[in-house]
Symmetry: C2
Subunit: 496 residues, 2 copies
């Protein structure tokens, strides 16, 4: 065993080096690169990806994985072999010439989507979306011809996930959120938000970022903050994690919650156990679990009354003029305002799952052939009216707002809502062990991090997503935690 | 021919991708990376370098280069084959196990040098320097056993360079500079420098950087400025060049000339002709020629009375308090002050070549076995006393100040002085075609850049260094231009 795993790990290290380079190129692109330098960058990315592909699908790794199949491996080694097999299959099951041709379609489709969004004209994107859906149906047939096409793609982004789990989750959410939203709109006590739209000095906002990072234990030794148009987290390895934020003069809250959200992702990546370093397990699990960690910090901690009470003196020190005459309670309410809106990424905690649910329903129908691409905008607009009660004025602010489908990511969206629900259950679980509110109120987040490191973070990709969720949630996934959380928080907030 | 060159260029593209990744990792390391993230970075660098090495020494490229030998190639293709052969030989002539072991020595030696410099204790570094010299002698035997060991290394950094050219160059410089320096110290009119050591607001310094970059035609579309401890230039390809500077509150001049110097390097890389993109020719030539371009902008343009007169209104706008009561002529003199000093990188234009000459003499003796490592500090201190007239107080400010030798770079230093001399001759040559002083005085550097692009920049590594120097200088290298330049400038400056 030892010799075969040693050789496998040598290849994993080489894969790591390509991942490192590709991730750094991505970070640089979004934070520092000259504006018109894309040509050389995309050439380098294409070539490095191809080198990595050669290594991954090459006969050397294939032979080693075959040899490893007969061995009695420990948990980590078995997981490494499992992940490598999965990665290889994703490439080798698709005929190489189709893979190359389809990759070009995704690139062109994303380009078409950009133009369509800029022009707010769905017809420019429609023919490409048709091609993308055709590819995703064809590939699903290669991956698992016996399975439902949408289940194949749910499973692609989160091993173990299927409509059998997601359907009732979204159904119950809808049944709960739609009437609660209506009640809030009808009878909820008004929330004061006037003070949010002032000028918030940028250097004070930057100081706030650093304060928040310090509270979260994200030290400059291993995590740096940069600026980019869209905030993101990228990990080069567990000892080097990058987060970004954006500073808007008229919106301090956006930066604050960007840092807390990305900081949650970063803590996860920082705390993968060192034994997984340079292996294919040395990164956070599926998007759903990753999102659970960022949402846990952003919403369950960051938007809690307790944590805001801890932040309040610092907020007042940094923004004395802006917060004059505002109480901490008013601030708490303002950052938790519920308001149906057009754009998913701006949505509040309560209406956010409805945005996801709409995409979930639509992509399911598209892949099942129950909805034609040409009918997609009308279906989109109808659902926004039905669930969020709002009229979509144009496709740019409607069906064209997200990049995902243009690049082939159908089946990815559910992660966002599921992650938030996993987080609710994790918070319930850890409350049995520790004083969650007390941690938030004192700014001492260590016990929370210790729990998450032990139950989730340390494992990287070693455990399968469903095992990780069980470990973090202290049992099977139970969407009722999230339902309870929303119900309790928003009834209180709106005095219903 | 076409098919073989096509395949060779495919491999060149793959080599480009590794270079791109490695260069970006270097840039990130110096500008943005978290402070304690070196472990994963060095792992990635080691692995990517090894992948690149595999490709370069692999049988595929070997066979293609053999086939290309019989072909009638155009100038560019012939140069690509020549460079690839040279790169391959550098690796394949050294037995692989020695190459690996020796690379480790260089790493450990650099580490020992850092500690020795910090402790100002040469004895910590001496045993490593002995090993380094042994390796460089051994490798020279592999590369060209028939040649003098020091000539092998001069030629390694600059094809065509040998002691036959460098010896008389340094001898004549010494004969000229040492007495001129003595005369300046004895009889030169005093230069006012009091105003240089004030506080220079950092944001005004940053604005100055941007102004200078604009004058030089370095637009943000293809060139960005970052901060790092030691300023440097790194090119990812001709469409993406990065320069850095450092801002010191009490020293505005340091930033100004860092930007101009690195800007010169950047203009060179930016103007390599697009046909060389993604080939091994798509970067600036040897260190000597590269330095000639940065020094040309830094010294011959940047420190000229004419260019400073053009900058003067902007300098006064940015630093009204600091420059109150200072004349442009006083500023010109201050930034051209001659003063013998301990540290090479801080040296003025006149004494700088003496710093290089000392290293040139010493490394020659070390490689020839005429000087024992243990006697190096004493020899160093003696030469600083003899040529610069100063006492070296400790090894940190003496023999340990530069990193080069610790990593095996013996034979590199002469580039710095030669480059400055090439630049002098290039300026003389272009003055026959254009109004150099007029360009500097008006801030319209385009005619100068047009000359350099035509005669030097466009060629990348296509021409050999001696061909490039001939092209840029309008004839054979003639060190008397540099001698004349120094003589004229400094006699006038000091009213001798």
């Amino acid at each position: 065993m030892d010799q075969i795993m040693e050789k496998i790990r040598e290849i994993e290290k080489r894969l790591f080096a390509y991942n490192y380079a590709l991730a750094l190129i991505g970070i640089d692109d979004a934070t520092a690169a000259p504006t018109e330098s894309a040509e050389g960058r995309s050439e380098a990315v294409g070539l490095l990806s191809m080198e990595q592909y050669r290594l991954l699908v090459g006969p050397e790794l294939g032979a080693l994985l075959d040899q490893a199949a007969g061995l009695n491996l420990d948990r980590q080694a078995a997981a490494e072999v499992r992940e490598l097999r999965r990665m290889r299959e994703q490439y080798t099951k698709i005929p190489p010439e189709e893979f190359a041709a389809d990759s070009r379609v995704f690139t062109l489709s994303q380009n078409a989507w950009q133009k369509a969004k800029a022009a707010s004209d769905f017809s420019l994107f429609a023919p490409w979306l048709e091609k993308v859906i055709e590819i995703r149906r064809r590939w699903a047939g290669y991956f698992a011809p016996e399975k439902d096409v949408y289940d194949v793609w749910l499973n692609y982004y989160q091993a173990g996930l299927s409509m059998a789990q997601a359907d009732p989750f979204f159904a119950s959410l809808r049944q709960q959120i739609v009437p609660l939203l209506a009640e809030i709109q009808e009878k909820g006590r008004p929330i004061r938000t006037d003070f949010l739209t002032q000028d918030w000095p940028l250097d004070a906002q930057a100081q706030l970022s650093h304060f928040v990072m310090e509270v979260m234990g994200l030290t400059r030794e291993h995590c740096v903050l940069a600026e980019s148009e869209h905030p993101f987290t990228s990990s080069l390895y567990d000892g080097d994690v990058r987060i970004t934020t954006h500073y808007l003069l008229d919106n301090m809250v956006s930066n604050l919650y960007s840092v807390v959200h990305e900081g949650g992702h970063a803590l996860y990546e920082r705390n993968i156990r060192p034994a997984l370093r340079y292996t294919v397990l040395g990164e956070g699990s599926c998007p759903g679990v990753h999102e659970s960690q960022s949402r846990l910090f952003e919403n369950y901690i960051g938007r809690s009354r307790e944590f805001l009470s801890y932040l309040w003196p610092e907020l007042n020190r940094l923004f004395p003029a802006q917060l004059a005459g505002v109480s901490c309670e008013e601030f708490y309410r303002a950052v938790n305002l519920v308001t149906p809106s057009l754009i998913r990424t701006d949505a509040d905690e309560l209406t956010y799952p409805l945005h996801i649910m709409i995409r979930y329903e639509l992509e399911k129908q598209l892949l099942h052939g129950e909805l034609a691409v040409q009918d997609l905008p009308a279906a989109w607009n109808r659902m926004y009216k039905e669930y969020l009660g709002i009229d979509v004025p144009d496709d740019a602010r409607g069906v064209l707002q997200d990049i995902h489908w243009s690049g082939g990511d159908l089946g990815y969206f559910p992660s966002y809502a599921l992650g938030t629900a996993y987080a609710a259950q994790m918070v319930e679980a850890m409350k049995k062990e520790l004083d969650f509110e007390g941690c938030c109120a004192s700014g001492n987040l260590e016990p929370i991090q210790e729990y998450l490191a032990r139950q989730v973070w340390q494992y990287g990709k070693e455990l399968q997503p469903d095992e990780l969720i069980r470990s973090g949630c202290g049992g099977e996934f139970d969407p009722s935690c999230f339902a309870r959380y929303l119900e309790t928080k928003y009834r209180a907030l709106y005095a219903l």
